[in-house]
Symmetry: C2
Subunit: 226 residues, 2 copies
């Protein structure tokens, strides 16, 4: 199970396909407010106890304990006619959570992660998704084995690729983002069909990976509207 | 003064217009490696002492103490023929630092902040800029007083504006980004000439402010290349 903190996020998990096991709440929250339907165990506890459970600096008055789902096997056919994200060893929980939130904004349904990518149920990841984790499917797998079996164009964000403003993204594909320090690993780089780059006008050495992901998602979306 | 941590960031401040006062380093770092020129006080100390000074979980072997500069009065004329960022009460240090790093990538030289925006010399901000703070000018001022005096188009990121993919940004202007929870304050909203929105295709309620800033910077850059 994993922790979800805050009224809004807990409500989003209750209204999603996830199974919420227990909701701990202070007397200020009436369980009815949570719009519930399914078998949820509600426990009224003190703010002091919430503080003991919470991983936040400023604990909120509701904490949910949510079951980690058994993800069905990734269905490659379901990835056709749209874009999905591929994360190769993204390590920072804040980046991971922000990427999930951004994917949700742009309507990206699936994120395929290498096995060494940070755990999506890490409380800092869950928090940074701001509830979006309830709506985006996150799969962990061996990218080197799986990518060749998905018959789609593979775009990879690199420092020496084609200018994204001139790239024809088309209407389907995978977008691969690499590790914060090392980028995309050589094993996975070999599987990329188009290397792409966000053109640099200034002097920063690189962009944060969540920032780069968002710029690319926006560019893919804009392209699809042409 | 403020702290800068890590070999790369300290070097960038030494090679910038900032005055580095003292560099604390472990015996593993030879001061000559730092390419120095100006009056810098070098102090070799133990890793234990570095750990006492550091604000990082994993302290690095160099810490610089840098003088907070006296910023010259913002010259409105210098803002013509380009884009600058305006931050209205951005609060999260990680967001602030990431925005500065992103501005540096896109060649944006000036960021104008409301007086209640998070302090740019907060160690978490400095760290998240990854050295870019050495190259981007950050001004604090009363936005309500200053914006009307800068005679440039004012674009504001809102949830109910014009679709950014259809916006003609032109070649100069200000881009206003608001607070994480509350957006742009009503006082500043009145000064916006074009409200713009990143179209949402999914269900996330909002985007992280650093993410939205990056998407808009990219769109402005792409527009300027047409």
């Amino acid at each position: 199970m994993f922790l979800v903190e805050g009224y809004k996020s807990v409500t989003e998990f209750i209204n999603s396909g996830y199974q919420v096991d227990t909701v701990y709440h202070t007397p200020t929250i009436v369980p009815k407010m949570l719009n519930l339907s399914r078998n949820i165990n509600f426990q009224e506890i003190s703010m002091k106890d919430i503080e003991k459970i919470s991983t936040l600096k400023t604990p909120q008055d509701v904490i949910g304990l949510v079951k980690i789902p058994k993800w069905p096997q990734l269905n490659y056919n379901s990835l056709k006619n749209r874009f999905s994200l591929v994360l190769d060893n993204v390590q920072d929980p804040g980046n991971m959570g922000t990427i999930i939130r951004t994917a949700d904004w742009f309507g990206i349904a699936d994120i395929i992660c290498s096995e060494d990518t940070v755990d999506v149920y890490n409380p800092k990841v869950v928090q940074a998704t701001m509830g979006s984790l309830a709506r985006v499917n996150v799969h962990y797998t061996s990218l080197a084995q799986v990518l060749p079996q998905i018959n789609l164009p593979v775009f990879g964000a690199m420092l020496d690729g084609e200018n994204i403003y001139n790239t024809g993204f088309g209407t389907e594909g995978l977008l691969v983002m690499g590790n914060e320090g090392n980028g995309i690993s050589p094993d996975i780089e070999r599987l990329i069909s188009t290397k792409i780059t966000i053109p640099r006008a200034g002097e920063a050495e690189s962009l944060n990976v969540a920032i780069a992901t968002a710029i690319l998602c926006s560019e893919i979306k804009r392209n699809s509207l042409k």
